[in-house]
């Protein structure tokens, strides 16, 4: 194994499907043992990126290497060194738990002297001891997911790719799952995960934000929260939220406003703008229930980043 056996390196990666560019000049690299999250809405190019890295798709241009192997030149080597869990449940529903584990142990060429131990470990991890002979299709979502994880890491891959691993799984199982991921990361496995759940992104050491095929920000969750917002963030709870949104956007010092649940998040140049907002709304007869400065969440960061990019894009076009 090469010295960068745990890393994923991507340089100017492009993937086009006809006229549509799914991945547009993306570059990043991961560090050994980190949980690297690829975050973005559906259709932003996350899955395409992960599929290229697993050697399931060929890039249109650019370069990507996984575990020190080039994705185009040596996909076989890559497949030996990675575990991959796809978005959709992809074990054999008509095989039993044990048969699935044995099958994937065979696929990954786990040597016969440690197969038993590895399968035992996977059963333990997934909490499926005693249910070895249940048909996989009859398991509930969380179990299926943990079994899929178990199957994907039977051969102790240095890098693990998880594509939307927690979609369709109950919250408790999701937390359990992330604990398992954390543990593997502690053991030095590099975890590459895509998700569109903002609340899951906090489990990642570093995050890459993707939007419409492009990488728009990269950093730790803290960095992203801190740096993506220029100015301060205010939370506004009031009546007639639609009217309020229209009104506050016209106030000087308000850079951005977005609906978050039953409240508005406002990006303002400084906290003092708050009093102007309150005055303007009350003049229009909108009762303000709450207006206070808050710490930006990742979602705020994401909204701010995509909004800023939208503006930049517009100015680029108007030039």
């Amino acid at each position: 194994m090469t010295s960068n056996g745990n890393s994923v390196e991507v340089e100017n990666l492009v993937k086009r499907f006809g006229a549509f560019t799914a991945v547009d000049r993306v570059s990043f690299s991961t560090r050994t043992g980190e949980v690297f999250g690829l975050l973005g809405p559906n259709g932003s190019g996350k899955s395409t990126t992960i599929r290229i890295l697993c050697g399931l798709l060929h890039p249109s241009s650019g370069r990507a290497s996984v575990a020190g192997y080039d994705v185009v030149a040596s996909p076989e080597q890559i497949r030996r060194n990675i575990g991959y869990m796809s978005q959709k449940f992809s074990l054999y529903a008509d095989l039993t738990v044990l048969e699935n584990l044995r099958f994937f142990a065979g696929m990954y060429g786990v040597s016969s002297d440690i197969v038993k131990e590895r399968i035992g470990w996977a059963l333990e991890m997934a909490g499926l001891r005693g249910r070895e002979s249940s048909l996989t299709g009859t398991l509930s979502g969380g179990w299926k997911q943990r079994l899929a994880l178990g199957c994907a890491v039977l051969h102790r891959p240095p890098i693990l790719f998880l594509d939307e691993p927690t979609s369709g799984v109950d919250p408790l199982s999701r937390r359990l799952f992330w604990e398992l991921i954390q543990r593997m990361s502690d053991e030095g496995v590099t975890i590459f995960v895509t998700t569109h759940y903002m609340d899951e992104a906090v489990y990642c050491n570093r995050l890459a934000l993707m939007d419409r095929g492009q990488l728009i920000a990269l950093g730790t969750p803290t960095e992203l929260r801190r740096d993506s917002i220029e100015g301060s963030l205010l939370l506004l709870e009031c009546d007639r939220i639609g009217d309020a949104l229209e009104r506050v956007r016209r106030i000087e010092g308000v850079h951005d406003a977005a609906v978050f649940g039953n409240a508005l998040h406002l990006v303002v140049s400084n906290v003092e703008v708050g009093s102007a907002i309150r005055a303007a709304l009350e003049a229009d007869g909108i009762a303000v229930a709450r207006l206070e400065s808050i710490r930006p969440s990742l979602e705020d960061a994401f909204v701010a980043l995509t909004a800023r990019r939208g503006v930049n894009g517009a100015t680029e076009q108007s030039r």
Partner: protein, 330 residues
């Protein structure tokens, strides 16, 4: 190719087939069903053609001729009638397929050595049977004519009789010209084609449909390992069905088995490999179980029924070149 991965794929496939009642039904019931339906249902032998006769003379000679029809296993003389109307009615309602009319001056003409014609009315709605009936009737009448001629010459003390030229045919491989002797082995080939194509046409499509292919191709397993690994269990099932068919053919339908079992096994194996390949190809191509099974069925059934020689050869063997044109006209 990695042997352990190959075996793992095979094992998995076996488990899946054993749990898939649909596949099991195809494997177990298809040979029995096709053997029964086609083995009993398809009979291309035309024997016992329903026949009416209108003997306008009623002489000893005319009765002699009819007796010859009666004693032939190809004809079943149902009734003799007294007028044309009765013949027409019988032909109309299908009670007879062939009607023979013997003229009123039959014996007189024979005695005088003048030519005489016997009329045959044939129900042509099933042209295949009609042609056979005409052929057989000509045979019977011709043989009778030859005997009468010999008799005539003998009585007139003619110096010598040139023996008429005739063909003495001997059929090889299927001496009795029994259609079951080639239909039943033909069914075995159809079973192999259908079972082989149907089973494999589902296998790759199922992986795509259920999303397991995505997981599979992210592992180090190669395409060749997947294909060969999947081929092994289906090959075994196909050979099992071939053996079932052969057993039914020999022990139940009494089809004579001549030749070497080894040749049959190797030949079947080669044929089956091609058939399994066809199924795989359909499966890879469609990536959809429903479409794959539909295409598989058509691709397997049509050629094996129509152009493999399953449906038509007995006519060719029985009637030879003479009726080849008639065959293509159909």
């Amino acid at each position: 190719m990695n042997f352990r991965r190959l075996l793992a794929v095979s094992r998995k496939e076996i488990f899946q087939v054993l749990r898939d009642s649909r596949s099991l039904l195809i494997v177990l019931l298809m040979p029995l069903m096709l053997m029964t339906v086609l083995g009993y249902g398809v009979n291309l032998d035309t024997k016992h053609i329903r026949m009416f006769a209108f003997d306008r003379e009623g002489s000893q000679q005319s009765q002699d001729l009819l007796k010859r029809f009666q004693s032939s296993e190809y004809f079943n003389l149902i009734a003799t009638v007294r007028d044309y109307d009765a013949l027409a009615t019988a032909l109309d309602n299908g009670r007879c397929q062939l009607a023979i009319v013997i003229p009123h001056d039959f014996s007189a003409r024979l005695r005088d050595g003048r030519g005489v014609k016997v009329q045959a009315l044939v129900d042509g709605s099933d042209s295949n049977t009609a042609q056979l009936a005409i052929g057989y009737a000509q045979g019977v009448v011709g043989a009778y004519g030859a005997r009468v001629q010999a008799e005539f010459f003998r009585k007139s003390h003619a110096p010598s009789v040139n023996p008429s030229l005739s063909v003495d045919a001997r059929t090889w491989f299927n001496e009795e010209l029994e259609s079951k002797n080639f239909i039943v082995p033909g069914v075995a080939a159809i079973v192999m084609t259908v079972v082989g194509t149907l089973l494999t046409s589902l296998t790759i499509a199922r992986e795509w449909e259920r999303g397991t292919m995505e997981q599979l191709i992210s592992t180090p397993v190669t395409a060749m390992e997947i294909i060969v690994g999947k081929l092994i269990p289906y090959f075994a099932l196909g050979m099992f069905d071939t053996a079932v068919c052969a057993t039914i053919a020999v022990w139940w339908f009494d089809v004579p088995f001549r030749g070497s079992i080894l040749t049959l096994t190797v030949g079947s194996g080669l044929f089956l490999t091609v058939i399994l390949g066809l199924g795989f190809w359909i499966s890879v191509f469609t990536k959809n179980q429903l479409a794959a099974s539909q295409i598989g069925l058509v691709a397997a059934f049509l050629p094996s029924m129509l152009i493999s020689g399953f449906t038509f050869p007995i006519e060719q063997i029985a009637l030879g070149v003479r009726y080849r044109e008639g065959l293509f006209e159909q």
